[in-house]
């Protein structure tokens, strides 16, 4: 009963050379058969306005200068690219480099995007920001820029995630944002996003919805990717500076997919392997996972067409991951295209392996990573194994793990043993 786009979408036959001939998305936000705008009519005009405003302002010199300035002096960019000598020695294979998004203001890559969107909101004359959040990083990053630009801010967060990522809730509150607990559905990121969209429908005139990943309706996937691509741009320069050449492989975790797209995009036409790592949760075989690209099917969720985790009737499934930021049954449409064209490869890492990698990088490099990022590291450790040291792998350390202390400790006892 699954409508398989392979059958009626000729574009699905594209291979990875397509990126040399064409840029994505098209005018309507389509990445091949994916993307687009699937929202209620109330929101359509807002999305069209947003698209035009984004196209206009993002091209102006003043917007670009202001953004650059903020990224440098406020966010702390460029973030370092760090050769992880001890981790590399430990795996005794490829050389591992870490892109240190954990050092960005608020502790993750998310702020690259929120500061861009908030600046756009300001230019558009919007006075209020809303956002959904899973791990709370996007919520904190949005609350931060809202405070910075003097805007009102509401953050929608699943009540389960509020439990899992308590410190981030407090941070948002200190930053003056109202955190709205979402009790519907799975009480995680998916439902927070549902609720944010519902709220937006009623407040669309003065409210800017700051989506936190390369998901959602057009123009969000392209806009967020463009705000995040600074990660890859810096990485490229830094690798060339530090090693004299491009890396062989890039690895990033994929929740909605923004840190991965940000890292991958500037390398899309380079001979560099791109690997996205999804959360395998309790294990793919248990069905309790968040490997949307690896084990999902085509569908429409949160305003765009992409891969989703769903049952045969098109009802969205519950995702599972120890990491709230990956615990999402959807994924950005550009990743769907990268997968189908085989330009990128998507793998998955379960909770257990992510915890092991988490532990390892704490102990070997003195860096406490976000649980999300630990998934990328875990896969990097595997990928590095049978390679030589002159094979260079860049792993996006998308965030720091302070927010995860709660899930890592039951009372005073660490679950890492």
């Amino acid at each position: 009963m699954q409508s398989d786009p392979e059958n009626h979408d000729p574009e699905k036959q594209m291979d990875s050379t397509v990126f040399q001939k064409q840029t994505f998305p098209d005018q309507q936000g389509h990445f091949g058969p994916y993307g687009g705008r699937y929202v209620g009519e109330t929101l359509m005009p807002a999305l069209i306005e947003l698209d035009l405003a984004y196209q206009h302002f993002s091209q102006t010199r003043s917007f670009q200068d202001e953004l650059k300035e903020l990224l440098h002096h406020y966010v702390g960019r460029p973030t370092p690219l760090f050769y992880a000598k001890r981790l590399s020695q430990f795996v005794n294979g490829a050389s591992l480099f870490l892109k240190r998004e954990d050092l960005a203001h608020t502790g993750a890559h998310k702020i690259n995007n929120t500061i861009g969107q908030a600046l756009l909101a300001k230019k558009m004359g919007k006075t209020k920001l809303i956002a959904e959040t899973g791990a709370g990083q996007h919520g904190v990053a949005t609350a931060t820029v809202a405070a910075f630009f003097g805007m009102e801010c509401k953050i929608f967060m699943g009540s389960e995630d509020i439990q899992r990522q308590a410190p981030n809730v407090k941070r948002m509150q200190l930053l003056g944002a109202q955190v709205i607990s979402v009790d519907s559905g799975t009480r995680t990121l998916k439902d927070a996003m549902n609720e944010a969209m519902r709220y937006w429908v009623g407040a669309v005139e003065d409210t800017f919805y700051v989506i936190g990943s390369v998901a959602g309706p057009h123009p969000y996937p392209v806009m967020v990717r463009n705000f995040q691509k600074i990660i890859g741009e810096e990485t490229k320069l830094q690798m060339i500076e530090q090693t004299g050449r491009l890396p062989n492989m890039l690895i990033a975790c994929v929740g909605g997919g923004s840190n991965a797209m940000g890292l991958f995009y500037p390398f899309i036409n380079d001979p560099v392997e791109l690997i996205g790592v999804e959360a395998a949760g309790f294990g793919i075989e248990t069905g309790k996972h968040a490997a949307t690209l690896g084990h999902g099917t085509t569908g429409v969720l949160h305003g765009s067409k992409s891969y989703v985790l769903q049952n045969q009737w098109g009802q969205i499934s519950e995702a599972h991951s120890i990491s709230a930021g990956l615990d999402y049954p959807g994924v950005g449409p550009e990743h769907a295209l990268l997968k189908d064209t085989k330009r990128a490869t998507y793998v998955s890492i379960d909770d257990h392996k992510a915890l092991e990698a988490f532990r390892l990088i704490c102990l070997k490099e003195g860096i406490i990573p976000a649980m999300e990022s630990a998934h990328a590291i875990a896969y990097a450790l595997e990928a590095a194994k049978d390679k030589s040291y002159n094979y260079h792998i860049v792993v996006n350390l998308s965030g720091r793990g302070d927010k995860d202390l709660g899930i890592l400790f039951k009372g005073e006892q660490s679950i890492l043993g």
Binding site: S3, T42, V201, W313
Partner: protein, 265 residues
């Protein structure tokens, strides 16, 4: 001429407005749902909007969210819903509009969906999150236009865009009364009136107004402005508060009759 058109012609002649009733298919279960619908038809419902429940109804307020969840928990799916539709069709000639989010249709398959819908006696579809821009895939997959495509116009829709929307629509136009999700409070009749006037200048299609209409008095007010009134959350709220009452279908039927009365000139 399909049943939707016929209905509006008939109503027009009788100087009545259409009472469009939204019910989540399978809430609280398929059997009761059928009983409810039959009672509504008996009570004079003009058009049935049969909601296909979706796990992530982002355009809906809490009442319809909960009704969708109840239906899904009791196993409602497109297969049982087409059966339900066919059963209703056996008893009544009421036009049936299948209300859906795009994903359940898309996953079922655009073309199979079309055939099953026609087969079970449906007359139109209203796909809440499928704007004209994204409709190509659907219309290309459909062999003909026997299923009306009801389109939404919102208070935020600019004039040019209205033109574009109505030209892609058939059956009737669903005018969203306000910005907000279904079941939101408050009714601004002046806004509705303005939008109806604009739409009337753009299309011959009947205009039905929905979102947040829940009282008989509101039905009466909107009846003076538009060709039809859509009631959804009000019915679902009644279902929710009387879940254990064996008399539930009758209650909804009575409510339908009351609303219907208010649509008479």
């Amino acid at each position: 001429m399909n049943r939707i058109e016929q209905t509006f012609i008939k109503l027009n002649q009788k100087r009545e407005k259409a009472l469009v009733g939204f019910i989540t298919a399978g809430d609280p279960d398929i059997q009761t749902s059928l009983a409810i619908i039959l009672e509504m038809c008996k009570a004079g419902l003009d058009i049935l909007e049969l909601g296909i429940p979706f796990s992530d109804p982002t355009s809906d307020g809490p009442v319809i969210q909960r009704s969708s969840l109840r239906a899904l928990n009791k196993g409602a799916n497109l297969s049982t819903i087409f059966e339900l539709c066919a059963t209703v069709r056996k008893h009544y000639d009421v036009p049936i509009v299948l209300f859906s989010y795009y994903n359940p249709m898309f996953v079922y398959g655009i073309t199979p969906f079309y055939h099953e819908a026609i087969q079970s006696g449906a007359d139109g579809v209203l796909i809440v999150d499928l704007p004209p821009e994204e409709s190509g895939e659907l219309t290309q997959g459909w062999p003909d236009d026997k299923l009306s495509i009801i389109r939404l116009v919102a208070p935020t829709t600019p004039n040019e865009r209205m033109t574009q929307i109505v030209s892609a629509a058939s059956g009737f136009i669903y005018l969203v009364s306000k910005t907000g999700v279904t079941g939101s409070d408050g009714l601004q009749t002046s806004v509705i009136e303005q939008n109806v006037i604009k739409l009337k200048s753009l299309t011959q299609l009947p205009i039905c107004v929905g979102f947040g209409i829940s009282t008989v008095e509101q039905v009466r007010q909107v009846s003076e402005l538009a060709d039809g009134i859509v009631i959804g959350s009000a019915f679902e709220r009644l279902i929710e508060t009387n879940l254990d009452d064996p008399n539930l279908p009758k209650l909804i039927g009575d409510q339908t009759a009351e609303f219907k009365k208010a649509t008479l000139a």
